[in-house]
Symmetry: C3
Subunit: 343 residues, 3 copies
């Protein structure tokens, strides 16, 4: 792709580019790389001041740059075409999308797949090798089900949603439009509900269902359970990383981010745009307000207010935690003091 | 289902119901819901005092209530049929079971499944689409193997055990009766055993096997490894949640509960009715006595006595931990004190 | 197998055995067991002084012993054949390998597997039931792909590598020779990359690939993501346990050990022979030097130097952590002291 074509595709204003500023450079771009690995013919980006020095040594033929005329000049001096933007990382993402799309099989039902005759199938649906789709499933247009995925009965999948290989989508789950379910994830399995009795654990049947709203991503081998009654719900645009556990009956808001290996116990309630760092846990029925943040490897035992950031095991306000972790390292000193003071 | 029929099915004594106490209410029940979501025609339950206020506003047509005549009266005043019990949650579980059963394919071998000719198959067995069952496997009566599950050779599966989609059961594993293996779980894979040498890690072959006794549940994408020699064993009635790791050679007792994302390192030994909270870890060869409890996100480095509850990283008695977590938050104050005292 | 044959197979010097020292014992060995479970006709081993007492009571017919003539004599007195070695555990591993090999299907493509006509297949390759292998994949000699595994396009698999059931290997991944990918693992899926915008999370396309060098093992249901650009790389001989997350763009050195449920965030860099204990986490872009060690359930927020051992949340030098965890338990005492001193 020519540099000029990329600019047009990305809808960048001409004056924000070397081309629009009179530069003649219009390199043929073959791909995209990180700034330290880019070769001639490739596009790369500089996200901020920390990487600015790379302008003088990168082999890239074109660069996405922040709003810094000195960097633009440095690029021109080295005959590198450039695009300026307030958000280099975002434009880089969009440029990557112009060069690259993840593999998707062509539309059609693979002859080795099993699809129950009652399944409703939209236009341009792809069902991969050895996949299985049970009775009453409804698949929207452009849905892609990769090899070996298994859909239990009465699942509904919205338009353009992609279900990767070896996923399992359990009965009555509803997946919105434009979702991506990564390989090995399990949606809508039975929640972990047991009632203690004198003779052991009696199972609480899990008759509810799991709902993913539009634009949800679920990472590899993550699990989102269904509840005894009612729904487990993941809000529009929420992104869930690999190996995450979402317990039965959780209500997760919109545009949240759950990083890898997070665990939400049953009936946790997250507002919108909540972010939870890797390996953190939230216990049963806890509420996290909009924009709440939990840093990595924390354990949330109490509700967290909107906009608050918490850390630690158990979680406390992040600022307090930052002070305690410094002081914990000084405990030997404190105990020596105490010993000296003779008490 | 009529209210009267439900009472009979649940074998509730008549005098413990509005019906038996002369009430004429016998609503047709169409389903079961949580108390805050129940609609007319539905059954719900009130587990304890915290939810008692719902009797005056729920739309449910029938309620399971605790032993509290004031609540019974309040229900009758609103023309709600009721059942009284010492254990509302348990009765609710049983009522759910009367209305709902998880989907199970009908008996028979799906034409797309691969089943080795040497496999022994009991009565009314179901083997789903694209499943594979290798040589020498023995399947009891009523066994259900869902789509895309893979059984390696010489596996034995007890009567009525359900293996969900995309599970893998490795060679020589033995699964008892009435077990449920949830989607994506892996039973009996090779333990993580390597011996250091000058040139790298030499693999310790894992020739043992994994045994699940009757009534064991294993959650989605959990893994229970087999050991180098001998057995990994999960005791009767033990319930394991999603994404749990059970290392090679672990001996887990009966009726234990391992919550999501727990990890047991190799050769851990758990007594009966041990409960381990989510994201907790137990290191190699540790022993936990009967009824020991580990709260969430703890790390057990030492043996835990029968009936003890431990918490923390590393784990300590729960009462001590509860005090330390309060005091850690007061460390800034303590250090200020120390500074003021001039030491 | 006769004892004498085993000695020859293991290439043990004759003088390091009861046989070579004039003993006539040459038992027929039927298998291998742990010292406390060994029966007549079995081989077992004693790894160190803690188990030495077992020489006088084991039922084993042959023993691998440390370099301790008293133990050799004790074995002879009980008519037990023995082999002496500096590394009993290593020799035991090798002996196990002489008796036991994990099940592997015979070479050939199962009729229920889907293999794209463009796939290049080496000699003696096995592709199991209901597996799927997409276009452009290259499989070396002796590769074994178990049932229901799914390989996306353009994957390269080195000689003798084993891919267990229900694994997913994503597009363009490269697996070296003699790797083992355990059941349910996912290699080369899209990294968790999103850019915040006013309207939600914009996906960063993940155009890179994941590379496993020779001799890598990846545990059950683990996930190793691919990056936006460039490579995620796991070095030669590194062993990864179950349920481990390796984020996009991580560079893991040779002969590392990542224990179960470890999580590496994006772009972490590990040197060679790094060991990370179970449930530990490493945040983005952190560097760990050669031979660095992280103990279980730690959170690494800062770089760790070569040969250092760190522990805790957040991680600190292990020696300091060991002192702080003792002192944290003494906090109640310290606060009492402070109260008594009247400040």
């Amino acid at each position: 792709m020519k540099f000029q074509e990329l600019i047009e595709r990305l809808k960048v204003p001409a004056e924000q580019t070397s081309f629009g500023q009179g530069g003649a450079l219009n390199p043929e771009l073959s791909g995209i790389s990180a700034i330290d690995q880019a070769q001639a013919g490739e596009l790369s980006f500089i996200g901020g001041a920390a990487f600015a020095g790379w302008v003088s040594k990168t082999q890239a033929s074109a660069l996405i740059l922040p709003q810094d005329p000195a960097l633009w000049q440095a690029a021109e001096d080295r005959h590198i075409a450039w695009i300026a933007t307030d958000q280099p990382r975002l434009l880089f993402a969009q440029a990557l999308g112009a060069f690259y799309r993840p593999w998707q099989p062509s539309a059609g039902i693979h002859p080795t797949a099993f699809v129950d005759p009652s399944v409703q199938i939209g236009q341009a649906v792809s069902i991969g090798a050895n996949a299985s789709v049970q009775a009453g499933v409804v698949l929207g247009s452009g849905v892609c089900i990769h090899a070996n995925a298994a859909l239990y009965p009465q699942v509904v999948v919205g338009d353009r949603t992609v279900i990767h290989a070896n996923c399992v989508i359990h009965e009555r789950s509803v997946l919105g439009r434009d979702c991506v379910i990564h390989s090995g994830a399990v949606i809508g399995s039975e929640g972990f509900g047991f009632v203690p009795t004198a003779t052991g654990w009696e199972k609480m049947p899990q008759s509810g269902r799991t709902i993913l709203e539009d634009g949800v991503e679920v990472g590899c081998n993550s699990a989102i359970d269904r509840p005894a009654v009612g729904e487990t719900r993941i809000g529009q645009g929420t992104k869930i990383d690999n190996l995450v556990q979402v317990g039965h009956g959780c209500q997760v808001g919109q545009q949240c981010l759950l990083v890898s290996q997070v665990g939400l116990a049953g009936a946790a309630q997250l507002g919108d745009r909540v972010m939870i760092g890797g390996q953190s846990g939230v216990v049963e029925k806890i509420k996290l307000g909009d924009l709440a943040r939990v840093t990595a490897k924390s354990l949330v035992l109490q509700d967290v207010g909107a906009g608050e950031t918490v850390s630690g095991i158990p979680a406390m306000p992040n600022k307090l935690w930052l002070r305690t972790v410094v002081l914990i390292r000084r405990l030997p000193e404190l105990f020596r003091r105490g010993d000296r003071s003779g008490s």
